[in-house]
């Protein structure tokens, strides 16, 4: 199979998955007790009897489920996720405003995780079963057993409250102040990374140990390459595919973690938006957001899948 064909097949797969996801999202929120009309009426100052029915009719909520779903989906495809009835802002616009913060946070968390996990894994694999490897193993197991919001709180207490090196909460936009922007995201992204580092590190360490037993590693040693070359030029690349898979699988968990961490650190991202949406029973907003996150997740995995052929020439044709 050629690379193009593989991509095409994956793309078809992607569309099917997205359709399923959108249906589930819509169904789920429809099954919840109460709807937009009730919320609107309950929050208005002088509700009149029959108002609920009236608003339902107005919003098209009296239509059968499938009709409403198809309509919603049709709009969603054209980028129209409806209007938040709390703020009157189109949902797509609200996502657009908040998205850069969350994406930046995710990227920083991944970069920090990989920057720590990869060298650590290589060093541990090289000294496998020796003191260093054992210490790293104990350290990462400990780290993994602490939820990342706890890590975040601890970091805030140490680096923001006590040492006053970093801001405790709040966000500085990138356009305003690059350094300030990075500083404002440092604690939350390290907190997110704390859950990923142990995972990435263990996967890559085991994979490196396997690779280091390959014949071609012996060949690399037999021609006198330095240990560094053997590890990083010869052994690292063939060990990466499994790590890439794990990165992909964990994008979902990472997004989930982001929602909470954003709240703790007061970041104006997707997480805080969802939180306020749920608090306000802003169904349209929540529906749009969940659909968006699901799509982002599926898409991110699609991209991760596309990385494999770049790592292994045998798959790439």
């Amino acid at each position: 199979m050629t690379y193009a064909k593989v991509i095409a097949m994956r793309a078809v797969h992607l569309v099917v998955v997205l359709l399923g996801v959108s249906f589930l999202v819509y169904l789920l929120l429809d099954l919840l007790p109460g709807d937009t009309a009730e919320v609107l009426v309950a929050s208005s100052s002088n509700p009149t009897p029959g108002a609920v029915e009236e608003i339902r009719k107005e919003l098209g909520l009296d239509q059968p489920f499938m009709v409403r779903y198809v309509q919603w989906l049709g709009n969603a495809i054209t980028g129209d996720l409806g209007v938040s009835f709390r703020t009157g802002q189109p949902v797509t616009e609200a996502i657009g405003e908040r998205l850069p913060v969350t994406i930046q946070l995710l990227i920083m968390a991944e970069i920090i995780s990989l920057a720590i996990a990869v060298p650590l894994a290589v060093a541990a694999a090289r000294r496998r079963d020796q003191a260093f490897d054992r210490v790293v193993s104990v350290f990462t197991f400990t780290l993994q057993s602490i939820p990342n919001f706890v890590v975040s709180l601890v970091l805030i207490v140490i680096f923001a409250v006590t040492l006053n090196w970093l801001p405790a909460i709040g966000f500085v936009p990138l356009q305003e102040d690059v350094l300030g922007n990075i500083r404002s995201l440092l604690i939350p992204s390290i907190a997110l990374a704390s859950a990923l580092v142990p995972l990435y590190m263990r996967v890559l360490r085991n994979e490196m140990i396997r690779t280091l037993q390959e014949d071609y590693i012996l060949v690399a040693r037999s021609v006198g390459l330095t240990q560094r070359s053997v590890l990083f030029r010869y052994a690292l690349k063939p060990s990466l595919p499994t790590l890439v898979t794990v990165v992909g699988i964990n994008i979902g968990t990472l997004i989930g973690g982001t929602l909470l961490i954003e709240l703790i650190s007061g970041l104006p991202g997707i997480g805080t938006l969802i939180y306020s949406g749920i608090n306000n029973r802003d169904y349209v907003l929540v529906q749009g957001l969940i659909l968006f996150i699901a799509c982002a997740y599926v898409l991110a995995n699609f991209i991760v899948d596309m990385i494999y052929p770049l790592l292994d020439p045998r798959v790439r044709v």
């Binding site: 071609y216 037999s222 021609v223 006198g224 330095t226 063939p238 020439p313 045998r314």
Partner: protein, 344 residues
């Protein structure tokens, strides 16, 4: 031999830590190879040929004990005690190179073959990428790869087994070593490709005065291609000397048995081959005396008590045996009942 040997191994001993205890895998290996000569190393599977080969380069498996007895002299210098760093910088790939058995797994599957050849050259010869590339392409031509410029850019999976082994040889030769260790370099290849690869070694040896240590369990191949041969059994060299005389007039009962177990074209069809009865000893629990005693038709009580030293035998070549075979017509079996009873 009047020429100074390029490699001289004396009484080399290597042990491994295993779950069953300490395995004495190499128990006093002696080898001497002169420049421009091909020296064969034969022996059954498990006799310690690969471990010996790897010990010369200092690339033993991780469970090998650090305590290494004996001596490995290369070009007059003792290299057994050299640091990892020295070995990497001055010896491995630079002056001693190795070709491995399985060309399917010996090349990095995710790196272009050209780069694999270029990396050691850049390290050892201090040349830039362009020079290294030109040299690599030239080398690919020399080892018989068609379209060297094209093949420089491909990945291993795009090549046949024979081509990969040629690439492996080009990689080994990239820094112009003085000694090439080839550990069963043709076992994984079909017969015609085998002959081509061996011809290539022959050409290189003549053109570059390269010394070759050719490891194999294929007696015919060794007899045909080697100048000298050393026969290994249970981690020891039990007999050594010129290939022709060793196989024509074997002195050690093991060599003789190997020779008789070898299929030959001269035999009439359907001749039943003699196999050697019994099994090699447990390496974690070697006997006091000769390791071959329990399988040897000439064994006496002396063999069970004293390990025979490697000394010139009746044919003048070194042999480690108390009762060496004197001539080609002497019967192999000299049954000695007292000793037989002791081991049963």
């Amino acid at each position: 031999m009047t020429v100074e040997p390029i490699l001289e191994v004396k009484d080399l001993r290597i042990q491994f830590k295993t779950p069953q205890g300490i395995a004495e895998v190499v128990n006093g290996v002696n080898l001497s190879i002169a420049p421009g000569r091909v020296h064969g190393l034969v022996g059954e599977s498990g006799s310690g040929k690969s471990v010996t080969a790897r010990a010369v380069l200092g690339i033993l498996p991780r469970n090998a004990l650090h305590k290494r007895e004996g001596s490995v002299r290369f070009a007059g210098e003792e290299i057994l005690g050299l640091s990892e760093d020295e070995m990497r910088k001055r010896i491995r790939g630079r002056r001693i190179a190795m070709v491995f058995q399985d060309p399917m797994t010996a090349l990095n599957p995710v790196m272009r073959v050209g780069k694999q050849i270029v990396l050691p050259m850049r390290r050892h010869l201090g040349i830039n990428g362009k020079e290294a590339k030109a040299r690599a392409i030239d080398l690919l031509g020399q080892v018989g790869i068609p379209d060297p410029e094209e093949k420089f850019k491909v990945y291993p999976h795009q090549l046949s087994g024979g081509q990969r082994q040629r690439i492996m040889i080009a990689l080994a030769l990239s820094c112009d070593p003085e000694l090439l260790i080839a550990d069963e370099p043709t076992t994984a290849l079909d017969v015609t490709v085998q002959a081509q690869i061996l011809d290539l070694f022959d050409k290189l040896r003549r053109e570059r005065n390269l010394a070759v240590l050719l490891v194999s369990h294929d007696l015919s191949l060794i007899a045909e291609r080697c100048d000298e041969v050393s026969v290994m059994y249970a981690g020891r060299v039990v007999e050594t000397g010129s290939a022709i005389s060793t196989f024509e007039a074997p002195q050690h009962p093991y060599t003789k048995a190997l020779e008789e177990a070898r299929p030959s074209l001269e035999n009439p069809p359907h001749t039943v081959l003699r196999t050697i009865p019994g099994r090699p000893p447990q390496l974690t629990d070697l006997p006091h005396g000769c390791s071959f005693a329990n399988r040897c038709p000439r064994m006496t009580e002396l063999c069970l008590d004293v390990d025979p030293p490697l000394e010139p035998g009746p044919a003048g070549r070194p042999v480690a045996c108390h009762h060496p075979v004197a001539g080609p017509d002497e019967p192999l079996g000299v049954s000695v009942t007292a000793a037989k009873e002791r081991i049963s």
